[in-house]
Symmetry: C2
Subunit: 215 residues, 2 copies
């Protein structure tokens, strides 16, 4: 979107509230992840697969962002994980005020690792800081290997990139080298994890790395 | 996004320019389609599969919208189809001014059916009229059967919905009835086509219907 003055003002206000969220998480010793992806790439599946494999003593919590519905939050709640659903009512991304409100309703003393699942959108969420410690971008093999070239802003903003549905690489004739080169072009320092939430392949390596990042 | 006055003003200005595009297409007897979908659902594949099967005398043209790259336009041009690539430079959707500029560079006298491929995004493009005659929303089976429930605004704006990658319905345990019920809930009049651009199944029925719509 063209950088109108009012948009700049909104971004600055958002940044300031993101800092407040960051401080609140820090006070509670919570490591926060902003999970971003296209619709259906597997954000919720990644959260569930990760939560299932966390080492003892590392307790997950989730904020679910969607335009509408509580389909994802219901899946998380069914596992006994603390979760708040944000319905953005048409807004194409989460922002810091929404996350700040959601944090008031989570039992922060009982959470060590907070997954914030953003609205499914490979463009807009990258522009709005939430106060998390790391951006994780999830890409699904069926979406095609050209995504880093076509959506560079989102991949440039990632600390980690998870390539999900890796069990489908042959079925979709997915060129993993082409994907990797595209990612390196826009973000040479991003860590790439190739895994399948469905089969579990590659998930332990991702969880091990993530756990180490928390420090 | 909150309906700030400035945003309302932009939408009104966009609507007025969309009317100009619509009038220009009408003068040239061109039927225009606004193709919207998540990243990687198969918008370009649908355009290519449709163009391949058009009856003689119905000449296609394409406007390609992407944040960056000319990957899709290159595929279209390789088939000898007139095409213009719009790089939005970060903008999460096409708008009427962008399309108006692109129309100046297309040989309108040689086009009967214009495909406008929007930026891959299941949220924002629905809010911006381009001057087309019909909105077509493409959903891919691997994205999951819950998309109409989670992205109602996009599906509500569709004249036709194409469910692509139908050859993957069993592989992804896709519940087509659940998808259909969700679509009917938000848009009872949308026409649904279940097809596979890869195998060609269902594509002739879609092309026949589309050709009839043009009148």
């Amino acid at each position: 979107m063209t950088q109108l003055p009012v948009v700049k003002h909104i971004l600055a206000a958002n940044e300031s509230l993101a800092e407040e969220n960051r401080a609140l998480l820090r006070r509670h010793g919570i490591f926060g992840l902003n999970i971003m992806a296209s619709p259906g790439a597997g954000k919720t599946s990644l959260i569930l697969a990760t939560a299932d494999r966390l080492p003892a003593g590392l307790r997950p919590g989730v904020i679910e962002g969607d335009l509408a519905s509580s389909i994802d939050a219901d899946k998380i709640a069914a596992k006994g994980i603390p979760v708040i659903q944000i319905n953005t009512g048409g807004n194409c991304h989460l922002d810091a005020p929404m996350v700040g409100n959601a944090l008031k309703h989570l039992p922060l003393a009982e959470i060590d690792l907070l997954f914030i699942e953003n609205v499914g959108n490979l463009v807009c969420p990258a522009n709005f800081a939430l106060g998390s410690d790391m951006n994780v971008v999830v890409a699904g093999v069926p979406e095609g290997h050209d995504k880093p070239y076509k959506y560079p802003g989102m991949f440039a903003a990632a600390g980690a990139v998870v390539l999900n549905k890796a069990d489908m690489i042959d079925v979709f004739e997915f060129d993993a080298d082409y994907f990797r080169r595209g990612l390196e072009m826009v973000n040479p320092t991003a860590n790439l994890f190739v895994l399948s939430c469905k089969t579990g392949t590659g998930v332990p390596e991702w969880v091990q790395w993530l756990t180490a990042q928390r420090g």
